[in-house]
C-alpha cells in the first residue's frame, strides 16, 4: 500500500476541475470568451504538468478558475489568444508560487499578475514573467514590499510621450 502523494491525480478530481473550468464560460461569455471542453481538458492537463514540474500538489478545482475570473476582462485577451494566455498564466502562477516561497496568497498573486499584465506589461506575457513577477518574487524573498523598486526613476514615459 502506497501513500506516495506525487502520483495522486484521480480521474474524479480531474473531472471536477474540467467542470469548474467549463462553468467559467457562463461569466466570460459577456466578454466574448469561451473555452471548449477540449480546451478545458488541455488546461487541466497543463495544470497537472505545471504542478508536477514545480513540485506542488493541488486538491480540488484549483486556481485556474480564479485566474479566468480575474483575467477575463483584460483588454489584452480576446477569443483568439484566450486559451493560450490562460495556459501560460497558469504555468507562471505555479512557478511564482514557489519563487515567492508561498508568502503571497493565491488571490494576491493573481491580482498582482492582472495589474501588471494590464498595466506595465501592456499584455506582454514575457514582460510579466521575466520582469514584473521576477522582481516581485525577489522583493518578497528579501523582505521588501512586492512593488519595491531600487530605481528611483519611474520607467514610464512622461506626459508628452518623451523620455
Amino acid at each position: 500500500m502506497s501513500f506516495e502523494i506525487i502520483g495522486i491525480s484521480s480521474s474524479l478530481i480531474e473531472k471536477q476541475a474540467i467542470t469548474e473550468i467549463e462553468r467559467c464560460n457562463e461569466f466570460t461569455a459577456e466578454f466574448g470568451l469561451a473555452l471548449s471542453p477540449s480546451d478545458a481538458a488541455e488546461l487541466v492537463e497543463a495544470r497537472n504538468i505545471a504542478l508536477k514540474s514545480n513540485g506542488r500538489i493541488e486538491f480540488g478545482g484549483g486556481a485556474i478558475h480564479k485566474i479566468i475570473r480575474e483575467f477575463c476582462d483584460s483588454p489584452y485577451i480576446s477569443m483568439h489568444n484566450y486559451a493560450e494566455t490562460i495556459h501560460e498564466l497558469t504555468e507562471m502562477f505555479y512557478y511564482y508560487k514557489n519563487e515567492t516561497l508561498d508568502l503571497m496568497s493565491d488571490d494576491d498573486l493573481i491580482k498582482f499578475m492582472k495589474n501588471s499584465f494590464d498595466g506595465k506589461c501592456q499584455g506582454s506575457l514575457e514582460l510579466l514573467s521575466g520582469r514584473e513577477l521576477a522582481n516581485m518574487a525577489r522583493n518578497l524573498r528579501y523582505g521588501y514590499p512586492p512593488d519595491y523598486s531600487e530605481d528611483p526613476m519611474p520607467d514610464e514615459e512622461d506626459e508628452d510621450g518623451e523620455y
Partner: protein, 453 residues
C-alpha cells in the same frame, strides 16, 4: 503456570512502531483481513483528510502546496492515526477499528491522544527537572535544560506530529527505539526520570568521585551516569561493601576478578542478578517501575561484566573512586593579539630575514602576546634551531601552555594533524627531551595545573 498469550493473525512484534498504521494495513492486507476495495477506500479517505488539513495549513489562502510539505503532513496524519491504533488493546482490535471507523474519526481520536501525551510529557519533564542530578556532565545538563525544553516550543502536533524537534545528546542506558514524535519524548523522559530516581539514592559527591575515577574529563564525555552508578553499586554489592557509598578499592576489584573468573557465564550472570537484588534491598528501592527498569538494564550490564572478567579488564568496569586534584590552579591569559595588518607585516619581515639572530631580535621586539607567538610558530617557517631559540626566550609557564595546546603525548594520529602542527609538536618534544629531568617534570606538572583562557 506459563503465560498464555492470545494468538493474533498479525504478529504485533513485527509491526513498525514508527509507521504503525501503514504496517498494520500491510499486515492486514497480506493476511486477507482487508481486501483491495477496503485498501482503496482507506487510501482515498487518507487523501481526503490530507486535502482538508492542507487547506487548514495554507489558511485557505493557497489552493496548492509544495509536495514536500504535503508529504510531511501525510506522514503526520498517518502517525497520528497509528498512535490511536496503538492505544487499542491489541492488533485485532486495531484491524476491526480500521474496518469500522473512518480515517477522519481515527485521526481525530489520535489527535486528542497527542494532546494528552503532550500534557503528560510536560508533567514528566517538570518531574525530571526536579529530580535532576547535580553533575558537571555537559550532555546530561544541556539535554535536560535546553535539548528537551526546545521540543515543547517546536513540536507541531497538527502538521509535524511525527517529528522530534529536540536536541538529545544524553544517551540512556535503555535507549528508546522504534518510536518517534511525542511517543519518543514521553518514553525518553520516563526512562530518564527512573534513572535519576535511582541515582538520587547516592550522594552527588560520591557519584562525582566515582565518575572522576572513571575519567577526569567525564564532564565532556557522552556517558550514561545511571549505567556507571548501577555497575559500581553492583561491584560494591559483590564485594560486600557499602553500596550507598559506591566505594570499592582497586585491591577489592582485583580480588573480585579472581573470584568471578572461577564462574562459568551462566552461574556468573545468576550471581550478578542475586547481587542486584541485594543491592536494591540495601538501597530500599521498592518502586516497581524502577525495579523493572533496572531489570531491563541488567542484560547490558551483565554482558559488560562478563566481558571484563574474561578479558581481565574488570578494573575498567568497576571503578574505584578518585578524589579530584585540589592543588592550586594556574590561570593562563594569552594577552591581546596584535592587529592583523601589523601581524602580516611582521611575518613578511621574518620571511625576508636571512639571519636567525635577526629573526629572534625581531620576535623579541614585536611580539607581545602568547597568541601571536603561537601563530608565528606556524606562519614564519622557522627551522628547528630557530624554533628552539624562540622556546629558549619563553618562561616555563609559557612552555607549559604550549604543551597544553599542542600536546605531543596524545592518541591523535599524525594523519589527523596539519603539517605545521606536526612539526611544532615534534620540535616541542625534542626541546623538552633535551631539558634536565627535574625541569621536564616541573613543566609537565605546571601544564597539568594550567587553566588556559
Amino acid at each position: 503456570m506459563a503465560n498464555i498469550d492470545k494468538q493474533h493473525v498479525i504478529e504485533s512484534n513485527k509491526l513498525s512502531g514508527e509507521q504503525y498504521f501503514t504496517s498494520i494495513l500491510q499486515g492486514a492486507y497480506a493476511n486477507g483481513l482487508l481486501c483491495d476495495s477496503d485498501m482503496e477506500n482507506i487510501q482515498l479517505q487518507c487523501i481526503q483528510l490530507l486535502a482538508n488539513i492542507c487547506e487548514r495549513y495554507s489558511g485557505g489562502e493557497s489552493s496548492s502546496i509544495r509536495v514536500e510539505a504535503a508529504e510531511n503532513i501525510m506522514k503526520s496524519n498517518l502517525y497520528t492515526i497509528g498512535l490511536y491504533l496503538k492505544s487499542l488493546p491489541d492488533v485485532d482490535f486495531a484491524v476491526n477499528e480500521i474496518k469500522k471507523a473512518s480515517v477522519s474519526e481515527m485521526y481525530q481520536k489520535g489527535r486528542k491522544l497527542i494532546n494528552v501525551r503532550l500534557h503528560s510529557a510536560k508533567h514528566i519533564y517538570n518531574l525530571v527537572r526536579k529530580n535532576k542530578l547535580f553533575t558537571p556532565n555537559y550532555s546530561y545538563n544541556s539535554t535536560i535544560n535546553e535539548g528537551i525544553g526546545s521540543f515543547f516550543k517546536a513540536y507541531d502536533p497538527d502538521y509535524e506530529a511525527h517529528e522530534t524537534p529536540a536536541s538529545i545528546d544524553y544517551q540512556l542506558c535503555n535507549p528508546v527505539t522504534n518510536m518517534i514524535g511525542i511517543e519518543f519524548i514521553l518514553k525518553y523522559l520516563e526512562n530518564l526520570f527512573l534513572e535519576n530516581e535511582f541515582c538520587r539514592g547516592f550522594a552527588p559527591e560520591d557519584i562525582h568521585h566515582m565518575l572522576y575515577g572513571y575519567d577526569k574529563g567525564y564532564k565532556d564525555l557522552l556517558i550514561n551516569i545511571f549505567e556507571q552508578v548501577l555497575t559500581a553499586a553492583l561491584g560494591c554489592s559483590l564485594a560486600n561493601r557499602n553500596v550507598v557509598e559506591l566505594d570499592i578499592s582497586a585491591e577489592e576489584i582485583r580480588h573480585l576478578h579472581y573470584e568471578l573468573s572461577e564462574y562459568d557465564d551462566c552461574s556468573l550472570s545468576l550471581k550478578l542478578r542475586k547481587a542486584a537484588g541485594k543491592m536494591l534491598e540495601e538501597l530500599n528501592a521498592d518502586s516497581l517501575p524502577l525495579k523493572r527498569y533496572i531489570e531491563r538494564s541488567m542484560p547490558k550490564i551483565i554482558t559488560n561484566i562478563l566481558h571484563a572478567v574474561r578479558m581481565n579488564t574488570l578494573n575498567k568496569t568497576f571503578i574505584s573512586k578518585a578524589l579530584p586534584d585540589l592543588k592550586p590552579r594556574i590561570r593562563f591569559l594569552s594577552g591581546t593579539k596584535m592587529h592583523d595588518e601589523d601581524y602580516r607585516k611582521l611575518i613578511d619581515e621574518l620571511l625576508m630575514c636571512r639571519h636567525s639572530p635577526d629573526k629572534l631580535a625581531l620576535i623579541k621586539e614585536k611580539v607581545k602576546s602568547f597568541g601571536d607567538l603561537e601563530d608565528l610558530l606556524f606562519d614564519a617557517q622557522l627551522s628547528e634551531e630557530e624554533t628552539d631559540s624562540v622556546f629558549d626566550i619563553l618562561e616555563d609557564v609559557e612552555i607549559a601552555a604550549l604543551i597544553r595546546r599542542h600536546p605531543f603525548r596524545t592518541d591523535i594520529q599524525a594523519v589527523d594533524l596539519s603539517e605545521g602542527e606536526m612539526a611544532l609538536r615534534q620540535y616541542l618534544k625534542n626541546y623538552i627531551d633535551r631539558l634536565p629531568k627535574g625541569k621536564q617534570e616541573e613543566i609537565f606538572e605546571m601544564a597539568d595545573r594550567l587553566i588556559d583562557e
